[in-house]
Symmetry: C2
Subunit: 457 residues, 2 copies
């Protein structure tokens, strides 16, 4: 039936968010002569990580879009349509706007928010966070009238939403988190507490160790009932408890799906069909630490996978080492960053660790403009002395400091590598060279590692 | 004569600035039971990199001091005295406050500003930048009355001084630079131009390709005469043309001095006497690139050397790979960072290079608060594909972005390592994952490297 296909492309990319766009750009860069078509279902595509900021800082969904100019300047054709099926034998995709043939296909179909199986989750006024402009407008409209807002989930989406909505000033906001601490999957307790305290100081209520048993209401949500019976008034509920891979298109075409629910890919981002690659939230991720499936879904991981998939389409040249897990969150003046494993997670995985923390300003002297108290914690594995995790709490510097830690972990730097790291410093831009956090934490850990090694032998 | 020495210490450190303090702290960390004495000649020690900011942002030399608390909390004894000689056979130092015996000696005697051999350089009103509180007070007092200020040297000290003094608002400031561009030892032209334009827009005059032939005056400076005859009015002149290693103490004791003028040290920071180590501005540095002597003198290099020296005193465990050259400068909203080689410097050294530049905001979307246009340029070596340099122009993020580049260079990361670097991103803290500068520049360079390789074969 190949001949029925009106149009053939060298490469078809399905999905127009972070992974799809970057995959397409990467193909264009590595294979300049190939004809690339990106098909996406959305008219406009929100920047995923910017979504919470629509409701406070930015002001509207239209101020948080991935610009189509990115595709245009990279000479990538794109079409707005839904891909309904893949014919792997014929190498075609069917879409709501006709069929397209491909030589290589990249699936970047993303993820959808999880709707937990709680009674009342389908009531009016209960919002999962859809990466869709119309849905975001609907949420924004509803927020305009809401006074009592409950956010289920105290991960980064939950707390960023809480603070941004809180900027309107006339609302009572409660974050409900199942675990004993907000953000505890990515941060050790001492960092989680700082964020919880900041949110509380801004008038946001935090209910940790709290399980939602029912969302109550009659047509529209009225309150949220917790295990134990207590109720929280709510005229709007936001679900911030994670997302699941969109694998239907691939699975229906017979592609293998992994145990964690994402499309199976090897380290080159190839699916079980050698002509089909996948990247982003729709794939199963493997951890950098130990190689088991990882449930992390982050734009930065999606990008990495897109760069691997796009480069490998017509000849393998890149492999993934697995996901490190590097991300930051920010609420007002407080930013938190994490890379790799927390102390708690490392111990749970069976690593024997030594940690070191350093606290001090990110400028020198500490009276320079922009100075923010900054705390860094590094986690080293005892036998290899290799860095396996880092967390940072501070101001604006946290974002790029986290990426320095990420580079060190990714290149498996040892405590000595980091203690003798050649950093640059400047009074107006960084901590002092004497007190530079990452280097000092390594120096302190270095002593503990020697002691740990002596104790072992 | 050993018995005449009243006091013996395990370790004596000479010098109380960045290198000396860090060396002493490092000894304390690695050898907790050793008796450490730091001897310095200054009552109070300025933070070296903060000195320009005394004259604008900070307001007085006392607001820019290395706190003695650093020594106290690390249980390091210190004494204010001048070390006048070393008796290597007896292992003692003579000071203006008596003699002290040592088992290991660390020299961190720093550097002194170069006074160029220009007629008139000794006139009243001509100031080298001494790291000395009394001298800085004298300069501050004189600046209070000065209207026409000429700064000789357009390196980072020159331009930072120019802008800070300019904040007083009632002065005419001229920077005179011998080279065709300010900052050209550390930045390629396109970055230098941005800084020159910013300084000009703030009312500072920049005279490049200009050689000072004479500082004219009668007792006190009156003007600066350039080659070609033009004169610039000056009632105060600041010399910002670099510094020379303080090697007298070591040389007089028979320690070897290198061709570049610093104390010779091996990669473990040991001098030609195995009981004497040296670190900081007083040592001869070797470049990370090719291993020849390097004339760089930076606090961050001093720190690295101090950490190596301090750790190695009683057993070698660290070696220097040579100096990378990582540093930043900032004038108002504009910051520049550099790590490793510029394109020009790399070519001069004989490297065949491919460069890639990327420009975009350091937030996403670019309308987020704190967003600053940010440009990054990476320099790769063609045959190995290894990163050998990077330069950044932007806002506050420049400091830590430069250190990410530094980590990549130091671990000899290839273009592929960097293109698949797992960075974390956040709307309020970093560029978007799609446009993340370092990764994108590597991707772009990757294509050029393939072409360069094809052209070569």
């Amino acid at each position: 039936m190949k001949n029925d296909v009106a149009e053939r492309c060298d490469v078809v990319v399905v999905g127009g968010s972070a992974a799809g766009v970057t995959a397409a750009i990467t193909v264009r860069r590595h294979y300049p002569s190939k004809k690339v078509l990106l098909i996406r279902k959305e008219e406009k595509v929100p920047i995923p990580c910017g979504i919470p900021y629509i409701f406070g800082t930015l002001g509207s969904p239209e101020k948080n879009l991935i610009p189509d100019a990115l595709l245009e300047t990279n000479k990538i054709d794109f079409r707005i349509a839904t891909v309904t099926s893949i014919d792997r034998a014929a190498k075609t995709v069917s879409t709501t706007a006709g069929s397209v043939g491909y030589d290589r296909l990249i699936l970047a179909t993303g993820s959808s928010p999880i709707r937990p199986r709680i009674p009342g989750v389908d009531l009016e006024g209960v919002f999962p966070i859809e990466k869709d402009v119309a849905c975001l407008h609907q949420l924004q409209d509803d927020l305009g009238h809401a006074k009592h807002i409950v956010i289920i989930g105290g991960g980064f989406i939950g707390i960023e939403f809480a603070d941004e909505i809180n900027k309107a000033g006339d609302k009572k906001i409660t974050v409900v988190e199942m675990a004993p601490r907000c953000l505890s999957l990515a941060y050790d307790d001492e960092f989680c507490v700082d964020m919880e305290e900041l949110l509380k100081s801004r008038g946001i209520e935090i209910r940790t160790s709290s399980l939602v048993e029912e969302i109550e209401g009659n047509g529209r949500v009225r309150c949220v009932r917790l295990r134990g019976g207590s109720k929280i008034d709510a005229d709007l509920v936001i679900l911030g408890i994670g997302s699941k891979a969109n694998v239907e298109l691939g699975r229906d075409a017979g592609l293998r799906v992994g145990d964690s629910g994402g499309l199976s890919v090897d380290r080159t981002m190839r699916t079980s069909d050698p002509s089909i690659f996948a990247c982003g939230d729709c794939t199963e991720k493997i951890s950098f630490f130990g190689g088991r499936p990882s449930y992390l879904k982050l734009a930065s991981i999606a990008e990495l996978e897109a760069r691997i998939a796009g480069a490998n389409l017509f000849g393998i040249r890149r492999e993934s080492d697995g996901t490190l897990g590097v991300w930051c969150t920010a609420v007002g003046p407080l930013a938190l960053g994490t890379a790799g494993l927390t102390e708690v997670a490392a111990k749970e995985l069976g690593y024997q660790v030594v940690c070191a923390s350093v606290e001090g300003p990110n400028r020198h002297p500490g009276t320079m403009p922009g100075a923010a108290p900054t705390k860094l914690k590094l986690v080293f594995e005892v036998h290899s002395n290799v860095l396996i995790g880092g967390q940072i709490r501070g101001g604006d510097s946290v974002g790029e400091m986290t990426n320095i830690v990420a580079a060190c972990i990714q290149k498996r730097m040892t405590v000595e590598d980091i203690a003798t790291f050649q950093m640059g410093t400047h009074p107006a831009l960084t901590a002092s060279p004497i007190a530079y956090h990452i280097v000092n934490a390594a120096e302190i850990a270095s002593q503990s590692l020697i002691c740990a090694e002596h104790a072992r032998t």
